[in-house]
Structures are given as structure tokens and as C-alpha cells.
Amino acid sequence: MVKVTIDDKTIEVEAGTTILNAARQIGGEVVPPAMCYYSKLTGSGGKCRTCLVEVSQGSEKDPRPMPKLVASCSTQVMDGMVVKNKTSQRVKENRDGVVEFLLINHPLDCPICDQAGECHLQDLSFENGSQKTRFEEEKRTYEPIDIGDKIKLHMNRCILCYRCVHVANQLTNQRVHGILHRGEHAEISTYIEKAVDNDFSGNMIDVCPVGALTDKTFRFKSRVWFLKPMDASCECSKCSGKAVVWMFGNEIYRVTARKDQYGEVEDIDGKTAWICNECRYDKKDLKNWTIEGPRKINRHSVISTNHYTEGKVEPKKLNS
């Protein structure tokens, strides 16, 4: 076990833990945001640079600070390490810059995008960076394309986090899409218009932090804040069958996996509860699902507007 201090909060974690995961064990304000790192996918992280933190003391033995900010998702903790995230001005300025770079080619089409309301880039740019843009050049643009018959790819919105590639690599037995070209020309594409039709390929919609990969069965149907997320389960031979159904009245508009506070698919019974394509796209009838109850949504999220997940609050009696 090694001791690490993040934003004046000390915790003992196992050797080999990354700074980001140590911060997540503390929880709350000290957790750096992450756009590309996904704890359920091995090899993810290190690309978006939003999780950069300042290490003001390398370790107990070598207390010199690290000269540059380090990516907390891929840097392991050392005994006696002191990390600054929210308390560091350098980190704040750097994160503002990273957000600005991520938004260079990202279109501001949130009113159209299906991800709006649950988009990590939207949250990130709301919390960091300026409200104005300094970018005057043309953004790179692509036509939206279909990859497979159920997924729409908006390459304009992609921030190249590689999460979907990792999903295809690790969840399916054969990957038919990946990233072509380099640098600014890099784009996600399939192998010569090959359809993505593996049973678990739909999970790339869930892991996408922006609205680049969206569900075609839900495309432009509604906005997430008009829907009511409900925990539901079904009998499924391929996956755990535990999902969230997004309802409007008695209609199921879409089905997603259960996501935790970091937007990652939850572990249920020690296994990550990825859902299969049949559950995601085809089971849109209430008969297929057993509703367990309303999903707990953060009160500050736009999804929770006009939703009441808590039980009825009884009025207090006066003078009792």
C-alpha cells in the first residue's frame, strides 16, 4: 500500500494504481475529468489530456516536483506523492486550454445533437474554459455516415478518444472499424463500408463521450431531459439483461447500459454490464422488460428536471 495526497486529502491505495483511480477512490471534487480514459477498457486513456494534474512532490524518497503536468489516467502513484488538481492554478489554466483545443473542430450543434444533456464534452466546457471561441478558421467537416444499420457516425463531433475502438477490440471478436489517417486528418471509419454488426457493437454508443456515435433507433426522437430513465431488466441469453430504459409515458424510446457517476458502464455482480444489440435496439416494448424503479439521477443534471425520484415528502407538523 502506498500513501498519496490529492488536493490535501490523503488516501492509501495499492501500488500500481493510477492517480485518477486514487482520486476516484477519494471521490468528490478532487477527481480530474476524463474524456478518453475508461476504467472498463484496458489500454484506454492518455489521449485527451483533460485529466492532467500537477505533481508537487514526486515521492517520499525523491520529493522533487515533476516539471510538467502529468496525465493522471496513466501515471501510477508513488509512496508519499502529493498531487494538486483543483488547488493548482497551472492545472486550471491548462485544462482551459485543452478544452479550447478539443472544441476547435467540434461543432457547436448541441441543439441538434442527441447527446446534449448527457454529453461529457458539454459538461467539461461548461466547467472549464471561456464561453467564447477564438477560433476563426473553418472547422473540418464530414457528412454523417451509417456504420451498420443501427449506428450513425457524425465524424464532425468526434474527439478521437479511441474508446469505441477499444470496445470493438475487447468486446467483439472481430473489429471492422478503426482510425484512419493521422493528426488532424484522423477519422473513424469502417473497413470499406463494412457494417458493424457484432452483437456487442452497440456499446460503442454508450462509451462515446460526445455525440459522434448515436443510436439510429433513437435519432432525433426526443431530448434526454424529456425522458424518464428507469432501471429495468430482462431475460437475455447474450448479456446480463440489466439496462436503463428511457421512457416517455408508457413508451420506451431507447435503451442504454447502466452508467455510473463517471459515465462508465456499471459493474453488476463483478462483471461489467454491457448490453447486447438485441436488448438495445429491438426490445422497445414494455412487455420485454421488468421495471425495477426510477434511476437515480444527479439532481444537478438537466435529465432530472421535472423528475421526482425521491418518495413523497410528508409535510412537517408544527408545534409537535
Binding site: I112, F220, S222, R223, T305
Partner: protein
């Protein structure tokens, strides 16, 4: 009981005097008041012919604007509906097809957009929430109707026509936040 305000008249059934029984002085007194009003300034105006100038902050019937090329600005993002405290706005969105680029500005548009004018409280929050400068409140009055269903305004009543666009510049305070 003693009156609190001393404004109420105490009723009595005293017998009337001779002058009161004549009635004529009271009748002429009343007619004199009526005659005086012929030369006084009128408090009312003849509405449809004459119209009052509205305050620059007046918020009346909504309009869904088109851009300079005549395409609908609204993309059915739902922010007006979520901002609406009276929950008067509903909409469904649809995807723009090839060949409809001259009708809708963005790739998504509102296929149905309804405002229930009986629910609307004309607070102007929809206008403030709109990111696409599509919905505005104007200085027009919502006309009266006989049926409740006629107060649910669809796109036919809300979207301005290409030929005579609705002028919104009369309202100087359009609710948009000024840049800081």
C-alpha cells in the same frame, strides 16, 4: 355595529320631504352629470380601429422566425419546452431529408410545434432559452376564441409566412442576455 371605515351609509326609512317626492331635482341632477360627460376625455378607445402603443417590454403572441433565406430557424432542441414554467410547449422533431434544405436551416427540424395559449403565461423564458433565435414574443395580441382547442397554436399559426415576416424590432428588450 360601529362601521370600521365610516364609508357605509346608514339606511333609514324616514318619510321623504316634498322636494324629494317631486323626484325632478334628482332626475335633472342625474341628467346634468350625463351631459357633463359628453365634453370629458374618453377613457376608452375604439379598439380595432385605434390601437394603444405598447410598452417596449410587452410580450404578446409568439412567432417562429425564418432566416434571411426563408428557412425555419427552429431545430426542435427542446430548450424552450424545458424552460417553460407553465409547460405550455410541446414538439416532435424530424430529420431533414435531401431536397428540403430550402425549408429548414439545420438537419433537424420541428415537425410538430404547439403552444397552448391558455397555459402560456407570456413570461418570455422560451425566447431567452432559444439558442437559434427562432422563437420571439411579439407585440401582437392573442385573439379570443370560442373553443379551447383553438387556443393550441400549431406551426400554421406560429411560423411567420415568407411573404410578410413579423417585425420583432419594435420590442427593444427581447429578453436576450447582453454580452458581457
Amino acid at each position: 355595529m360601529q362601521s370600521l371605515s365610516n364609508k357605509s351609509k346608514v339606511v333609514s326609512d324616514k318619510p321623504m320631504t316634498f322636494m324629494e317626492r317631486l323626484y325632478l331635482p334628482a332626475v335633472f341632477g342625474g341628467m346634468w352629470i350625463t351631459f357633463k360627460h359628453l365634453f370629458k376625455k374618453h377613457n376608452t378607445i375604439k379598439f380595432p380601429e385605434k390601437q394603444r402603443i405598447f410598452a417596449p417590454v410587452y410580450r404578446g403572441q409568439h412567432v417562429l422566425k425564418r432566416d434571411e433565406k426563408g428557412r425555419e430557424n427552429c431545430t426542435a432542441c427542446g430548450l424552450c419546452a424545458v424552460a417553460c414554467p407553465a409547460e405550455a410547449i410541446t414538439m416532435t422533431s424530424a430529420e431533414r431529408k435531401k431536397g428540403e434544405e430550402h425549408l429548414y436551416r439545420e438537419e433537424k427540424y420541428a415537425s410538430m410545434y404547439e403552444i397552448n395559449m391558455l397555459r402560456c403565461i407570456f413570461c418570455g423564458l422560451c425566447e431567452e432559452a432559444c439558442p437559434k433565435e427562432a422563437i420571439f414574443l411579439t407585440d401582437r395580441l392573442v385573439p379570443t376564441e370560442f373553443e379551447r382547442k383553438d387556443f393550441i397554436y400549431g406551426k400554421d399559426k406560429l411560423v411567420e409566412s415568407k411573404e410578410n415576416p413579423i417585425d420583432i424590432s419594435l420590442r427593444q428588450h427581447t429578453g436576450k442576455r447582453t454580452e458581457k
